[in-house]
């Protein structure tokens, strides 16, 4: 009998794992399970072009999901539990019926979900943005032209939602608990620049501010948001609230299965989590020799690369080849207003940050991060060419000071 692979998660990592398995010659059944009933789609546009209304959902279908790869899709089906010893997985179908499915190999690609504010479930007008349904529900409310949108959390998703709302001409209050946005990722100096970008684009930015409470009122029997009470006592009235306070990994179905979990699925440096079980994408935590710690990377490109690498890992196991180490240079982009922010690498907020090209005043620059003489990050604002070229320095093993010189010469 040909071996069966089950893939949990039909998003970026799962689909790319499926595609790689097929193209590399796996003949047996590939069952792709996803709780979301939609055909596999791409998430970055959910906070950008879908929200602004520039694109319709048709446009964000994942290309690999449209290819004829002979995959057995089980959409609207949730993985509930895993039995590693017997290699079985319990699935809950769209009707709620449970079924047991056997596998020879398993790809864990169930990603992450948006974190919500406590005690806000069921309040109309309070949104998160993680799924297509989330984005369309928010878009419908933005179409109605609310007088104000409050965005809670100025991380990448919150910043993009604020940007999309401003593009629609809506008034936005952006609330951030930290003294500066993205401080934990980019450090204080660049956090300051990101704050300035919001302010220049007409956002009412409230830093160092928490949320005490969501006030509601009853409209036609529906409990609806009316205002947000901030930690400094201010009450900001708003018809729509968007919560962008990070994610939690979707590991519930793996609890007690024997798979090691620690804010993600613990993998080895080849993405193997257990014999014949691999993980990829937002859910996978792997040891990075490059950065000297374990990483769990929530980036689009890492999900593709991880999906491919995880599939190759399974194939290597089957063929007895030496598996490849997974340790790419993380890279992502974020579109905010007319600025494109790109970061390659993984700096610590305390790393040294040097502007090597352009100026922050014109919001068009490149900055490098270093820990001692080790290059840890390349940040660009509206400088895509430089980021891509400098990213290659990680693999050349160039020191921080040399990287700064090379960057200045670009």
């Amino acid at each position: 009998m040909t071996p069966t692979t089950v893939i949990v998660g039909a998003s970026l990592a799962g689909i790319n794992a499926a595609r790689t398995l097929r193209l590399q010659g796996q003949l047996g059944p590939i069952v792709v399970v996803d709780a979301d009933p939609e055909r596999p789609y791409d998430r970055p546009p959910l906070s950008k072009q879908i929200l602004t209304g520039e694109w319709e959902p048709e446009k964000i279908l994942l290309p690999a999901g449209k290819e004829d790869l002979n995959l057995d899709f089980r959409l609207g089906t949730r993985a509930k539990a895993l039995d590693l010893a017997s290699r079985q997985i319990i699935l809950e179908g769209p009707t709620g019926a449970l079924e047991t499915s056997s596998f020879d190999s398993l790809v864990i690609a169930s990603g992450a979900s948006a974190r919500r504010l406590p005690d806000t479930a069921g309040i109309a007008g309070v949104h998160v943005v993680r799924t297509l349904a989330d984005s369309l529900a928010l878009r419908a409310e933005l179409d109605a032209g609310p007088f104000r949108v409050v965005v809670i959390g100025a991380g990448f998703i919150g910043a993009e939602v604020a940007s999309s709302c401003r593009k629609r001409g809506l008034d936005v209050t952006l609330v951030e608990a930290l003294p500066l946005p993205l401080e934990r990722i980019l450090g204080a100096e660049m956090g300051q620049v990101c704050a300035q970008v919001h302010i220049e684009n007409g956002v009412d930015l409230r830093l160092d501010t928490g949320v005490l409470q969501i006030e509601t009122s009853s409209v036609d029997g529906v409990e609806r948001v009316r205002a947000v009470v901030l930690s400094d006592g201010t009450v900001v009235e708003a018809e729509v609230v968007v919560v962008g306070i990070g994610v939690t990994v979707n590991t519930q179905w793996l609890e007690g299965s024997g798979i090691a979990l620690d804010d993600g699925v613990m993998c080895d440096n080849t993405l193997l989590a257990a014999p014949d079980v691999v993980a990829a994408g937002d859910i996978a935590r792997y040891p990075s020799a490059r950065f000297g710690r374990t990483l769990r990377v929530e980036h689009w490109e890492t999900a593709i690369a991880g999906g491919e690498a995880a599939a190759r890992r399974l194939l290597a196991e089957a063929s007895g080849e030496t598996p490849a180490v997974f340790d790419p240079v993380p890279w992502f982009w974020s579109d905010q207003y007319d600025r494109k922010i790109q970061l390659a690498g993984r700096p610590m907020p305390t790393d040294e940050c040097r502007i090597v090209h352009g100026t922050t005043a014109e919001f068009r620059f490149v900055a490098l991060y270093g820990d001692g003489d080790r290059l840890t990050g390349v940040l660009g604002m509206n400088r895509p060419r430089h980021v891509v070229q400098l990213r290659a320095l990680f693999d050349e093993g160039v020191s921080f000071s040399e990287a700064c010189e090379r960057a200045a010469a670009l």
């Binding site: 290309p63 980021v387 990213r391």
Partner: protein, 64 residues
């Protein structure tokens, strides 16, 4: 093989340039230039990788 870029979709994020600088170049004007629309067959794997990794699905390969 011919490389076709949909410039209405392309947002010049230079991912393709990172994969194949011989073919794709984002210049200082922030526009993408295709240096060689007919790359040699030996570059097929890199071209396919560029197609998959373009965040905007802006690149396609035409066979003619």
């Amino acid at each position: 093989m011919r490389i076709v870029v949909d410039f209405d979709l392309c947002e010049s994020n230079a991912v393709c340039m990172g994969i194949a600088p011989e073919i794709f170049e984002v210049r200082d004007d922030d526009f993408l230039y295709v240096l060689n629309e007919n790359p040699p067959e030996s570059m097929r794997a890199k071209m396919e990788e560029s197609v998959q990794r373009c965040p905007k699905q802006a690149i396609s390969i035409a066979e003619d």
